[in-house]
Symmetry: C2
Subunit: 312 residues, 2 copies
């Protein structure tokens, strides 16, 4: 019997997800009718969902076996009173790969001063501008969770010395690890490139403030693919204006989309990227969705099912 899956993760995502989902269903040997409109809600077996979807009343979907979220975050659906079926969040193994690509790519961009080469196509042969080697360029990784560790390992493999910092002490092979307030000062003081991959908590709020920025060696670089509130925006702009910080690449912001009038957009020493460092990739996430449908049909427990009482 055909399984009916209803794509309710937003009309703007449908073009990118349709093919990957069909391919993943075929790969898993599942006979799924995939639709972005559900004429008969009672015929729907699975809802493929994203927070912020126009679909908020789930009560007509009386035979739905699970809501399968395409994002990791479920804050905006878990409390929905019409959610009476299991909810699964997305744990996409490619998130970590995408983050490693982003962090390594932007670290090497700063390391090689690629921006200066892109901008400096003026016919002047500046042969004297040879960058140091990776092993001469210490990189600080603030945050040593799963993503921070994956990035630290990739940077180490490439030859960069990695200075790790976390709120509570961690031990990561090959990384010079520090913790606590003193450890942060020492880590920042020795880094030429700082990557912030900390979780957003009360303690990490504004961790990159005027004092932290002043601790850096002059001309250091900052990459923030972690969380917007880690950064004190005004302090960052002040440090960029004086040249204390040479450049910043920011992927996350206090308000997203970053408003067009925010000074980050126009600042010559800032690159804004639109929260893409660890975006769900349809091709890999579709396989997680397919696996959960297979499990549902086989009566096996779902992957990543949310405990609605705990909220994650």
């Amino acid at each position: 019997m055909t399984i009916t899956a209803h794509f309710a993760a937003g009309a703007d995502r449908w073009p990118d997800w349709q093919e990957p989902l069909r391919a993943a269903f075929a790969e898993a040997g599942l006979d799924v009718t995939l639709t972005d409109s559900a004429p008969d809600p009672t015929a729907v077996d699975y809802i493929i969902y994203a927070p912020g979807s126009p679909l908020q009343d789930l009560s007509p979907f009386t035979n739905c076996k699970a809501v399968l979220n395409i994002w990791a975050g479920v804050e905006r659906i878990v409390g929905n009173p019409t959610l009476r079926m299991p909810l699964c969040r997305m744990v996409d193994p490619s998130l970590s790969e995408g983050m490693v690509d982003y962090v390594t790519g932007h670290v090497l961009r700063y390391h090689l001063d690629i921006d200066a080469h892109i901008a400096g196509q003026d016919g002047v042969w500046r042969h004297e501008r040879v960058p140091p080697l990776a092993r001469e360029r210490p990189v600080a990784m603030l945050g040593l969770g799963a993503l921070g560790q994956a990035c630290a390992r990739a940077l180490l493999a490439h030859g960069f010395p990695v200075l790790g910092w976390s709120r509570t002490p961690r031990d990561v092979a090959g990384v010079e690890c520090r913790a606590g307030a003193d450890g942060l000062t020492e880590t920042l003081a020795r880094a030429q490139i700082v990557v912030t991959l900390l979780p957003q908590t009360q303690e990490t709020q504004n961790i990159i403030d005027a004092r932290a920025l002043a601790t850096l060696a002059r001309g250091a670089y900052l990459i923030n693919p972690g969380r917007g509130p880690l950064i004190d925006d005004d302090a960052l702009i002040a440090a960029l204006d004086t040249g204390q910080l040479a450049h910043a690449t920011l992927d996350v912001f206090r308000e997203e989309p970053l408003p067009p009038e925010h000074p980050f957009w126009a600042h010559p020493r800032v690159t804004v990227t639109p929260h893409i460092a660890a975006e769900t990739r349809p091709h890999t996430a579709a396989r997680v969705i397919a696996e959960n449908i297979r499990r549902g049909e086989a009566g096996e427990p779902f992957l990543n099912q949310v405990d609605t009482d705990r909220g994650y």
Copy 2:
């Protein structure tokens, strides 16, 4: 007794080399008087040299024990009739590290479309532009010598599928290796990013010609840190103009410095870098110089001594 080393590698290099050399001599426990002027040539024990140096008549240096070249290439000194002392070329282990930095950095730059982010700071949040993962982006490495293999290994470690090509068959772990003309066509047809690290020979001349460029998938990228003559410049510009090739980053040229009027400089789809991908780094090369002076003083054979009959 103090050893006298005469720096004759060009006045413009003296500021960058002076300190690294003194540090390397100290590290090796050598008592060296380092000078960029040699009032008494007969007092000079070692000449630190670069091809193109104003010093061409070596005959007054009657007590010189060796000429220590700071470059790998010795074509412009090996035939000098006044060269009667041993000549050593530079084999700097950091050359390979610098090349890996350059190749990995520019591959990731293309992979992440970093140029578009740098240029696109217009306040528009283009969240839909998520790059594929490294494992979905095949990179072709043309040339599997020491540098090509080092770069291939770094790209593999990062997750990129690597398609290797060499004139004569090679076997590199993890790399899908091909050789010969048919192998080249197949390699190019499947690559999204092509890196050319071939030696300059009769056979590799213009290997990236109109036919090779037409074989690529539309929108591919080219990185040439190998040799200028590998590329047919006119064919490259034609392929960029039609969009068949999306962008090229070129570090080496038929004529260097690349003349200011060369169309590569002004082309919006070309980044010229000034032959820096595998530049000698004073800090690491100075240690090789110091080791050779130590060997000379100890009566041990020099490292990388040139066979002047063979010419390398």
